[in-house]
């Protein structure tokens, strides 16, 4: 477990090293250019864009209300038969006679919700903690860093399971909080480390020598660079959140509200239970999860690569 912490620590340091090495705003432009030339990044970007569009415009795209039960679907529904595609229901029924296509589309929205919140909470708390550690230094810094060390050792899924045990009833928030908590130390270290590293970097020293004001240095030069590292981590966090939500549902410890259309929940509960009756109930959410997780991983890795000084020739 401690070795997992090591691993995460190392990756954080690498990321810091890559993003803090010279460059201010020009780095963005440079990296952006390289991103656009990279087919991997484009594939990732397109996947995410598609996902975002579907999620945001779900009510416009979806043919029906995702929780409504339709008489034409329940008519032929039994526990061992789930009706397939019919007129008006392009993907057929789900196990309760609801429109599966609409649930898949609204699923993007709920999945986005879980991913974004998990990432955002982790990011905010982490940035706050990192800033406090960086600003106060000394003993506080040491204690906070010690604490993040401990937290880095936890795989998010195990933490989520422990949270369910300690919270009595799992909810949608169990997985959000678990993934967020696991990422707090990563974000905290990223921010703190990257700011510390930049304090000594050439462009900051140069700016300081030129007499640029302190808060200008922080805002114009240090923060943008630190944020790129944070963005890379955030894209990767998103993928983990989606996968963990699915895993918890599969273990029977996930979101208990099966009215909620969320891909992980749909795969982990209905998908597995009715696999032999209608495998599409598993294949579609699984495919959606893989594509979105893939999209975020591809984009995250591409940004990381683009920022790699080795590639800046």
């Amino acid at each position: 477990m401690a070795t997992l912490a090591e691993n995460k620590r190392r990756r954080i340091e690498e990321l810091i090293a890559r993003t803090s090495e010279a460059g201010g705003v020009s780095l963005f432009r440079d990296a952006g250019r390289r991103l656009l030339r990279n087919p991997t990044a484009i594939v990732g970007g397109v996947l995410i864009l598609l996902f975002l569009i579907i999620a945001i415009f779900a009510p416009l795209v979806a043919p029906h209300d995702p929780v409504q039960r339709f008489p034409e679907l329940t008519r032929d529904l039994t526990v061992d038969h789930i009706p397939g595609p019919t007129a008006g229901h392009p993907l057929g029924s789900d196990p309760l006679g609801r429109d599966f296509a609409s649930r898949m589309i609204y699923g993007a929205r709920q999945t986005l919700f879980v991913g974004v919140l998990a990432t955002l909470i982790g990011l905010l708390l982490g940035v706050l903690l990192g800033a406090i550690a960086g600003a106060l230094g000394g003993r506080v810094d040491a204690i906070i860093m010690r604490l993040t060390d401990v937290m880095l050792a936890l795989p998010s899924l195990l933490l989520a399971i422990t949270l369910v045990a300690l919270a009595s009833q799992s909810t949608q928030w169990t997985v959000i909080i678990a993934v967020a908590v696991v990422n707090v130390p990563i974000f905290a270290r990223l921010l703190r480390g990257s700011m510390l590293a930049q304090r000594e970097s050439d462009h900051v020293l140069a700016a300081r020598a030129l007499g640029v004001k302190r808060h200008d240095i922080v805002l114009r030069h240090m923060l943008p660079n630190s944020l790129t590292a944070v963005i890379v981590q955030a894209t990767l966090t998103f993928a983990v959140a989606i996968l963990d939500a699915a895993a918890l549902s599969f273990l029977g410890l996930g979101d208990p509200d099966i009215n909620r259309a969320e891909w992980g929940l749909m795969l982990g509960v209905d998908g597995v239970r009715y696999f032999e009756v209608r495998p599409e109930l598993a294949y579609f959410p699984a495919l959606a999860i893989i594509l979105v997780a893939l999209g975020f991983t591809l984009l995250g890795e591409s940004i990381r690569e683009a920022l790699d000084p080795k590639n800046r020739r």
Binding site: M1, P155, I289, T297
Partner: protein
């Protein structure tokens, strides 16, 4: 040095006691719990009352806490609510199962990961390389339980290639010596049991190996590429050394360093993966124990012991790491 160690040991004890206290009071503040779990639908209020008294829940919480501490100090974590056996036995039985699975998974991940990563790097930019990259990316993005579920469906149902679940065939009557079934078969010369246990290991180990395998392939590939770029390899090539010698003596050896580190770093991820894999394959290890202790009826004695075990393992390992730093870096020692 002695002072550092003794101070850290005191810290360890303090942390463990604090954690235990926290867990004890926290679990007791939750609804349900042992009384609910021990009584089925048929319990009358009378039995409920009897049970509350029998378990000492009517006594002040401090008395309960004192008794709990006393038990734990003597190594007694109580009995599992689900199975009624001592918690130490339950955990002791689950432990080798998970270790056996994890070892098999690591062997698969290394045995396939390093050659594949090397081949991909060697054929950089060609079909094999691209295919490997795509497969590893999907391997990281697929929900591992679903992959296990699909493998199980295809290879045990559509074609009866592997057994669907468990660690050994029912009714084989294998002798349990160490709890590692493959090893036990060798020790007792029940070679059929060993082979059978090995056969049962294949699918779960492959499922659990997915993520470490993908990561090892990627890291091997990356670090082989890094090394190929290094000046000393170019020098070696330029010197006219035989290609095979260069590869063997320089490329692989140097490229393997980061790979070896990564392998050691996959432990935590492996444990999280084991929870899912064990559930898919009904594998009686720690992963199943964790989920069963929660969803199978809030088995608090087992949960308490598991949390404590995890905390102690973690603190001890951390301590070891700190001490090794102290050896390497004199500045830490002074502090």
């Amino acid at each position: 040095m002695v002072r550092v160690i003794s101070r850290r040991l005191i810290q360890l004890v303090a942390t463990v006691v604090a954690l235990m206290t926290l867990v004890f009071f926290w679990l007791r503040s939750l609804p349900g719990g042992p009384v609910d779990a021990l009584l089925g639908e048929r319990a009358t209020p009378q039995t409920r009352e009897l049970l509350t008294r029998a378990l000492g829940y009517d006594q002040p919480i401090w008395v309960q806490y004192g008794r709990f501490l006393k038990n734990v100090v003597t190594g007694n974590f109580g009995n599992s609510i689900r199975t009624g056996e001592p918690v130490t036995e339950v955990i002791g039985r689950a432990f080798p199962a998970t270790i056996e699975l994890a070892i098999a998974a690591i062997i698969i991940a290394i045995g396939l990961g390093i050659p594949l990563g090397y081949l991909a790097a060697k054929h950089r930019g060609r079909l094999l390389d691209n295919a490997t990259i795509i497969v590893t990316l999907v391997g990281i993005s697929i929900p591992i339980f679903f992959l296990g579920y699909l493998l199980k469906d295809w290879l045990t149902q559509d074609i009866h290639l592997f057994p669907p679940s468990g660690r050994i065939s029912t009714g084989l009557g294998n002798t349990d010596v160490t709890g590692f079934f493959v090893l036990d078969g060798l020790l007792t010369r029940e070679l059929d049991a060993s082979a059978d246990a090995l056969w049962h290991l294949v699918l779960p180990a492959f499922t659990l190996a997915t993520i470490p395998l993908a990561i090892i392939i990627r890291i091997t590939r990356a670090s082989v590429l890094d090394v190929l770029d290094e000046d000393y390899i170019r020098t070696a090539d330029a010197k006219g050394l035989r290609h095979a010698t260069v590869r063997k003596r320089h490329v692989l050896r140097n490229a393997l360093l980061p790979v070896v580190t990564t392998i050691g770093l996959q432990t935590g991820a492996l444990l999280a993966g084991a929870v899912l894999t064990e559930k898919v394959y009904n594998w009686g290890g720690l992963g199943t124990l964790i989920t069963d202790s929660i969803s199978g009826g809030r088995d608090y004695p087992v949960l308490q012991a598991l949390i404590l075990l995890a905390a102690i393992v973690f603190i001890v390992v951390n301590l070891a790491v700190d001490l090794s730093y102290a050896f390497i870096d004199p500045r830490v020692r002074v502090k």
